[in-house]
Symmetry: C2
Subunit: 292 residues, 2 copies
């Protein structure tokens, strides 16, 4: 039987000794021109993503595919995402689909099926975990948990996001704490019956590296929740800012970097694969340096 998502992730973290999540955000204007020239089109985008995976797999615990950039390519752009996911899967990398989907009832069920890769036609490789937005409450998350349970996958719920205005709603004080704390308790509760052998649950939380104090508070509030941490690097968060996310075994969190890795060549010059590999390796070492 397949192991649970948190167990698969923990194994990837320990065997690679890496907490790096490589974020695949294919932006045509940022790619080496050879991939977008002339007749390349979507095929060029696919090949770029594949080579990034080849270059960084050694240093990565997992990859995160950002649905937005694939959707923006063409009406059928998500088909490219699934081809890339398949390649990551062949490398043995757990795949997180960052789609931040949210809806209710049968619509949320449809999103859950689509996000995990269980389409009506043309079945594809399965995503290991997907991101969801909690604004609709339990109704909006439960269908994702159902599909996730069936496939032994994971769900990452947005709790405290990394952007400057995340506090406008998330930091509002209520009778039972801030809104993000209310969400954190829901995440913890949903996860309580879904704990893997590693001690973490299959219901994770997105917690930004740009708010280190809240990150530390949220770690205390959700001791069995895997954190997916955006905001490292380009958005300003450093290794010290995310240190509190890790437990004494160096487990419990993965830290995403997209631009900082896949477009590293734009800063350093030279070969894009070498630059991406170097950036991923440096980030791996940077994160490992703050472990207990």
């Amino acid at each position: 039987m397949t192991s649970s998502f948190p167990d698969r992730l923990a194994r990837a973290i320990s065997t690679k000794n890496s907490r790096v999540c490589v974020g695949l955000d294919p932006r045509p204007d940022m790619l080496p021109q050879t991939f977008t020239d002339g007749a390349n089109g979507l095929e060029g985008i696919y090949r770029f993503c594949r080579r990034i995976i080849d270059a960084t797999a050694e240093y990565a615990a997992c990859v995160k595919l950002q649905a937005a950039y694939f959707e923006a390519l063409a009406p059928g752009g998500l088909a490219v995402l699934w081809r890339v996911a398949k390649w990551a899967h062949l490398h043995g990398l757990p795949i997180i689909l960052d789609a931040k989907r949210n809806d209710i009832g049968s619509t949320a069920q449809a999103y859950a099926s689509a996000s995990f890769g269980r389409h009506w036609r043309e079945p594809v490789v399965q995503a290991d975990a997907v991101t969801v937005n909690p604004y609709l409450g339990y109704d909006g998350v439960q269908p994702f948990l159902d599909v996730s349970d069936e496939l032994r996958g994971g769900v990452f719920v947005l709790v405290k996001t990394s952007n400057p205005t995340s506090g406008e709603l998330q930091d509002l004080e209520t009778a039972t704490g801030r809104v993000y704390e209310v969400v954190a308790r829901m995440v913890s509760e949903w996860g309580a019956t879904r704990i893997g052998d590693c001690g973490y649950s299959s219901v994770g939380a997105v917690v930004g590296a740009t708010y280190p104090q809240q990150l530390a508070e949220l770690r205390a509030l959700m001791p069995q929740t895997v954190f997916l941490v955006p905001g490292y690097g380009a958005q300003g968060g450093g290794a010290e800012d995310v240190a509190a996310a890790f437990d004494d075994d160096g487990l419990g969190a993965i830290v995403n970097s997209s631009r900082g890795i896949i477009y590293a060549y734009r800063e350093t010059g030279g070969d894009f694969q070498q630059a991406a590999a170097e950036a991923a390796r440096t980030m791996r070492d940077d994160l490992n340096s703050v472990l207990p």
Copy 2:
């Protein structure tokens, strides 16, 4: 110059004398079998949606395409959505893409481009408006407003959703009112500089028919905001429940029904187009009966 989205919608409402939004939720298991039989596949789904539009256009102010159901068809399922959107456009129907997207920065820009139909390759017909989720604050909405402004489109922000657990976050009391009221004030503020000739802004709100008291309160709080109202029919809301959404001219809101129209044949038997047309006409008359 193209008129603004609220003005285009107001014209559709007045010329059709209809506040009905036909929701296109193509679920393979709910379609007449002839569309999903054998080799039909995605082509059958497209033809079903097209015939629903043909049957209901006379009674509809606009159509809403639910991204989830198209995504769930196949990895490239959204391509079918855009073909359907084109057909609705040929009928002169404003198109709302119900995608509830949310993210920040360049990722939100990518979602905004994708949702309005401005892809990198294979440009398609333009959506008139898109739905977005406000959990990330202004950062998560602003890129959609930017693209919307450029295309003279509209954005519908989730304020108070129709589902049973919508209150878990949305109804939490804060120092400045409930969370959904905080969002409502943001929507109102974002719309203040975007008012069309009809008096409504291009920043709309999603407010469920299943919470009639909150709907009435929100109308008072957002007098210049177009409401997109889900929850009529199958979810339990009736015409009386949504009456407060309309102004003295019968403008200011559109009410969505998906299952209740496009799958009406499953209740009534007989031809699916006739059943859909009848359901849309009945809903139009039902809503008009509660206008001032």
